[in-house]
């Protein structure tokens, strides 16, 4: 009976989504209740599953045969090993809190039913990734997650920016998925399996070589897209156009870490190639620093948090690249709690200030929203890795893993410095000083449904560092704490607060102006200017997609090629039947000529 429980946990949110979409659409209150109930049941199920079963055992739900095609066999099976169980509990738990919070956040929106249906669909897709026992199944849910996030980011589809952001997110993810599917096919052909259960044993028998490297990098591409790592990171900050609970759920706690989760699943393949692992570690390392720098000059409260998310995920990616999955999972968990908390707090601020997102138009909120102020501090301390709060423990383990890689240690610790800097900047500007806008003057705390989830999350942020992740995943809890990294990283992180306090305490406008950081290193502009010049931006999906394909794969100037191809086609497809005939005849002659020639040659 318990063996089938993953199916139940997985399908409940789907039922909720379908049911709402088909029957409950006109009744937002019932829809809300249905969605939350489904999520609650899933969460309870996940907790039961978490509690049962052995810590090390690979428990799998009985598979259902799914596809058997030209030698490619895939079962629709679910895996419930400790990793999946932990992740499932995390996803459903955070989703439950976010859904409860959303009740308050979208209380006045007329299309609440659609919102909850889409949230449920998202939870279903995400659980699918978690429980997938092979790469193809995972890929399908991977795409579903892409689709549901597309829907959720574009929830307010009458805002053009939301539509554009949704498109951008979807398109960039497709580029990553392209690499991912290549990686899947490669895995299958190299090791003859796409099941996670067989992968370690097959991979250990496999030989290293360029093919393995290519496959590993292909799989990593999937992670680049979904976890928004360089150079595919551009979608995540834009996706903040969606409702804040969505940002919180998708872009902090669950969807973006799917890439990390996937990397951990395919680690046996990645580990075969030193090049792959080094690439992953370094992309992770650099991505800890880059967004942290950008965040120092952002003014939109959600974008600041979004960039910090990029940085934190990069820590996990780096950890995977260093081969330490325990700390990666550990940080994934703690990050889910404190980042979700920070996002919900920012949502509370935005809600309280009447849809104001610019921190320079806030101010003085520490008196009007003391609870939000408090939980923001808790989240910040956790994020910056100040002991004894959760983030410290998980970050410390990652820093410890870098102790033999001075370069990585340097960039990631520097990132810690800037993280402290921009977080304190955000708090000082948004909460300190005097109100700088009408919205901020009339700010108020949200209703209890919004407060309670934040309370729960702050408790989790404070104490989740105690959860024995390593032990649960079957690894030994090693004592790294004697390492030099502990002290250095802590010192650097604390040092980040000093200049922030110096610069931003009580100011009304930004004393610093660094255009390169404000312009996010001009990466978006780079894409925009060099690769889709002349295109109609992202407004028209077709055009944009052409551009994106170009950007992703055919490096540069291919926009020109695509347009030239269009022009060439226009010349051929001119409506003159005789031109068609000429093309036909030329093709036929070429074909027959080639055939005859190859016939004579042999």
């Amino acid at each position: 009976m318990i063996a089938y429980s993953p199916y139940l946990i997985l399908l409940l949110p789907l039922f909720a989504a379908v049911f709402i979409r088909l029957f409950l659409h006109p009744f937002p209150r019932v829809s809300t209740a249905a969605s939350i109930t489904a999520c609650l049941l899933s969460f309870v199920g996940s907790l039961l599953l978490l509690g049962s079963g052995t810590p090390t055992g690979g428990m799998a739900a009985p598979p259902v045969p799914w596809i058997e095609f030209a030698g490619l066999k895939a079962n629709f099976g679910l895996v419930a090993d400790p990793l999946a169980r932990m992740m499932a509990a995390l996803v459903t738990g955070v989703a439950l809190l976010v859904q409860i919070y959303s009740v308050g956040y979208v209380a006045k929106d007329p299309s609440r039913s659609r919102f909850f249906a889409e949230l449920s669909l998202f939870v279903f897709s995400m659980l699918g990734i978690v429980f997938a026992d092979n790469l193809v199944t995972m890929f399908i849910f991977w795409e579903l997650v892409g689709l549901s996030s597309y829907l959720l980011i574009g929830f307010w589809f009458d805002r053009p920016a939301a539509g554009a952001a949704a498109n951008k997110a979807f398109l960039v993810n497709r580029i990553g998925d392209f690499g991912f599917i290549l990686g899947i096919l490669g895995t299958w052909s190299l090791f003859g399996t796409i099941g996670f259960a067989d992968l370690p044993s097959r991979a250990s028998a496999g030989a290293a070589g360029w093919a393995v490297t290519a496959v590993g990098l292909g799989l990593f591409c999937g992670c680049l897209g979904k976890s928004a790592q360089f150079p595919l990171h551009v979608w995540l900050p834009d996706s903040m156009e969606g409702p804040t609970p969505v940002s919180s759920l998708l872009h902090a706690a669950t969807m973006v870490v799917a890439g990390v989760y996937m990397l951990i699943r395919v680690l046996p393949v990645l580990e075969l190639s030193h090049v792959t692992m080094t690439t992953i570690a370094w992309i992770g390392g650099i991505m800890t620093l880059l967004p942290a720098l950008i965040a120092c000059q952002q003014n939109d409260i959600k974008r600041i948090l979004a960039y910090s998310t990029l940085s934190e995920i990069a820590y996990m990616v780096m950890a995977v690249g260093l081969g330490v999955t325990g700390p990666a999972m550990y940080h994934l968990m703690t990050h889910a709690f404190f980042k979700c908390l920070l996002f919900l707090a920012s949502g509370s601020v935005i809600h309280g200030c009447h849809e104001e997102q610019d921190i320079w138009r806030m101010g003085g909120l520490n008196r009007r929203m003391p609870f939000t102020y408090l939980v923001t501090w808790i989240g910040t301390i956790a994020l910056c890795g100040i002991p004894p709060v959760s983030g410290f423990w998980s970050k410390d383990e990652i820093f410890a893993a870098t102790s033999h890689h001075p370069g990585l240690a340097a960039v990631s610790m520097l990132a810690g410095f800037f993280t402290s800097f921009f977080m304190l900047r955000m708090i000082l500007v948004a909460f300190g000083g005097n109100p700088r806008s009408e919205g901020a003057k009339h700010a108020h705390e949200g209703p209890p449904v919004m407060v309670v989830p934040m309370l729960v999350l702050s408790v989790l942020s404070l104490f989740s560092g105690l959860f024995p992740v390593d032990a649960f995943l079957g690894g030994g809890h090693e004592a790294h704490h004697a390492s030099w990294t502990l002290w250095v990283s802590l010192l650097v992180a604390l040092a980040g607060f000093v200049p922030a306090y110096q610069l931003y305490n009580g100011v009304t406008q930004d004393p610093l102006s660094l255009p390169i950081l404000r312009g996010k290193f001009y990466i978006d502009e780079f894409y925009q200017r060099f690769l889709v010049a002349g295109q109609d931006g992202l407004a028209r999906l077709a055009d944009a997609f052409e551009g994106w394909v170009v950007r992703g794969f055919i490096v540069r100037g291919s926009g020109v090629v695509a347009r030239a191809a269009g022009q060439g086609l226009r010349l051929v497809q001119c409506g003159q039947v005789q031109i068609y005939a000429a093309v036909f005849i030329a093709g036929a002659l070429l074909l027959v000529g080639c055939l005859v020639k190859s016939g004579i040659l042999r």
Partner: protein
Amino acid sequence: MILGEITLGHYLALSGFLFVIGLAGVLLRRSLLIVMMSLELLLNAANLALVAVGRFQGLPDTQVAVFFVITVAAAEVALGLAILVAIFRVKKTTAVDSMANLRF
């Protein structure tokens, strides 16, 4: 070879030249009527090859094939001319250039 006995090769070459002339007609003429006559030339070239092959290889089937080709050609011409008449009623011309409104 050229002035010796007439071989299958001669007939096939003749049919090939006829085919090429037909292709040139399809490509070069602006009147749809002549284009259709050129299509007839293509089929005739193929017919010639069929009959010649049948005779030199001793295959009666090729002549049956020619029979079918002639039928098909007749039907094609009839229908093509009917479409041309209908076009002429609308556009008062049968020039190929007038038929370029559907395009990229």
